[in-house]
Symmetry: C2
Subunit: 340 residues, 2 copies
DNA sequence: TTGTAGGCGTTATCAG
DNA sequence: CTGATAACGCCTACAA
């Protein structure tokens, strides 16, 4: 076994001071870009820093300043979809701009692990925590989360005791339906996801609203619920298509459902979008961009949500308001492809 | 503007010691589970800790012990595919088991940002760094990476001066081809990705090897290169299918190419797998699991690679060997679906 | 402009 | 088993 390859000599402020023939405080000043240093000394110090390859020890600095510039990101799941990745990227980019670094933790959704994780982050004196989920839902975050600035991301608590950033499902449903209306469709069905999910309920609300505004009576038989999977989309579409009056457009609760609808339409030799227009939700790249025809869909703004959550948190940390109150709803943009 | 919601009273060892009527060192011993404390005092201290809701300050501890239990994870891209997510999850789970936390940084692949990021992590005294890429390739990591234990993940440097964890492309190509042979196929084509990529070259090597071992002469016209996209797979498949002797199986450089092949086969009314078996590579869930028929493919072991990289790094940190030398190749498992 | 003294919260050392 | 004291590397406060 060879020895671990640690940094052999850890250069400190003192070493630099010694080498440059100044006090540690002067070195500290140079490192922190304090103006009150003569050019002469500054040059000397900078040279010594260069020579010794000195790097400030942020651990020590943080202990003194009480600012770790660390943010905890607690997620339930990671990796199964691109969602968590986009959230992470959005949060990380915003953090970077504020000189913050992200401690990434995933918990598998286990409440005990969640509590343990938050405690760990608290012990490390993170300046704030983003508590994120993989899909829009209500959560019950660990008690100890209240001990530091926190923002919920893609999730919420009923009493709004934490600020939250959510996708605007209702706007998304509304805009999807409006889009179909604008394309001249009048008999618009909706094959939704599972009842009770904020995504499903919000999207349906938007759908109803758009139809109402267009002066179209809602045919309740055209709004059906199921789950979020392709098979369900397939069978629900089959039922809808064998009715007396075929819909000329189908708004799907997500992209997977839309794939099932595509299958059902293909089976009946109906063309998309000529015979029936189809619009999805979620903009899962792997599905929507590579289906034939390409699936028009509403994108979940995960990157933007991650960014906003971080900004909200930073604002709070910097002394601004906590952002508590009504959740911030981030619009879901329409992604036009060929299915409408 | 309301005041920031910081922890109001930060309880320290001293406070606990005062409350329990013991020295700080005794409290420290209790916190660190040192056996050399009488039950009597231990109880007192534990009660005080409970009462005051004391949490050890890891920043201070780390400054004293020189161990931050922090690992930097530097990635070029995050979020576009599930790859980075799986790597992150694998690394995080392994880190968790060793009491390590992950500092996640993505750089966009920009060398300056990479160098800056590594410096930042070094200043924070991470105990090691995992340098990861989104797809298997050669890299040129920043100079300063040599200042701490490091592992390359899904990437490598030509002189092996860092340990590396890579997918075993060759084994993958071999096993994919073997699988087709075992299903009775004899005229097996390969529509590969782009020339020069480790993924493409390794998979082709495995393909050749399997054919050779089976005593089948390689028909060079059956091994074609293109790019990694569906369109290319479509047109390459068209060419192959209009030749005099139709292949009875096609091994695709990745799953997107396989989708193009599906399209080409459908166009000619050929059935998968009856007329032509198709196998992919990468196991992109969104594609492979939801195509019709489901696509048999070789999975990239990102989760396992993330885990192994972390284990390798931890082993080094704990004083073991650095793991430098020939890269560690992680097998790509076969995922059976309906296309073969 | 520059330097000195002291302390952040913890653990290591060593004495009792 | 227990505790006083020093030290980790840096920054704040104050003094020169």
């Amino acid at each position: 076994m060879s020895k671990p390859a640690r940094i052999t000599t850890v250069t400190t402020l003192k070493d630099v001071a010694l080498a440059a023939g100044v006090s540690t405080k002067t070195v500290s000043r140079v490192v922190n870009n304090d103006r009150h240093v003569s050019d002469n000394l500054r040059q000397k110090v900078l040279r010594a820093i260069e020579d010794l390859d000195y790097r400030p020890n942020l651990v020590a600095r943080h202990m003194r300043t009480k600012k770790t510039r660390l943010i905890g990101l607690v997620t339930d799941e990671i990796g199964t979809t691109s969602f968590s990745g986009n959230i992470l990227r959005g949060a990380q980019e915003a953090a970077w701009q504020h000189g913050l670094l992200l401690l990434a933790c995933h918990t598998g959704g286990n409440p005990e692990t969640e509590a343990h994780t938050v405690d760990l982050l608290l012990e490390r004196h993170v300046e704030g925590i983003i508590f994120a989920t993989m899909y829009h839902r209500e959560v019950c975050p660990p008690e100890s989360l209240k001990n530091c600035p926190a923002v919920l991301l893609d999730c919420f608590v009923s009493d709004n005791r934490y600020p939250a950033v959510l996708p605007d499902e209702c706007q998304g449903g509304y805009q999807a339906t409006r889009h179909l209306l604008q394309r001249g469709r009048r008999r618009i069905a909706m094959i939704n996801g599972k009842r009770g999910f904020p995504g499903a309920e919000g999207r349906a609300a938007g759908y109803r609203q758009a139809l109402a505004e267009a002066g179209l009576p809602l045919d309740e038989s055209l709004l059906v619920y199921g789950d979020w999977w392709q098979e369900q989309g397939f069978s629900q579409a089959q039922s809808l298509l064998q009715g007396p009056e075929r819909p000329d457009a189908i708004f799907c609760g997500n992209d997977r459902i839309a794939m099932g609808v595509f299958d059902a339409l293909r089976e009946r030799n109906l063309q998309v979008p000529r015979d029936v227009a189809v619009i999805g939700f979620d903009n899962m790249e792997m599905i929507a961009a590579h289906s034939r025809p390409g699936l028009t869909t509403m994108a979940l703004p995960h990157h933007e949500m991650g960014r906003l959550a971080m900004e909200l948190l930073n604002h709070h940390i910097e002394g601004g308001s906590s952002g508590k109150g009504e959740p911030l709803r981030v619009p879901c943009p329409l992604v036009r492809r060929e299915s409408t």
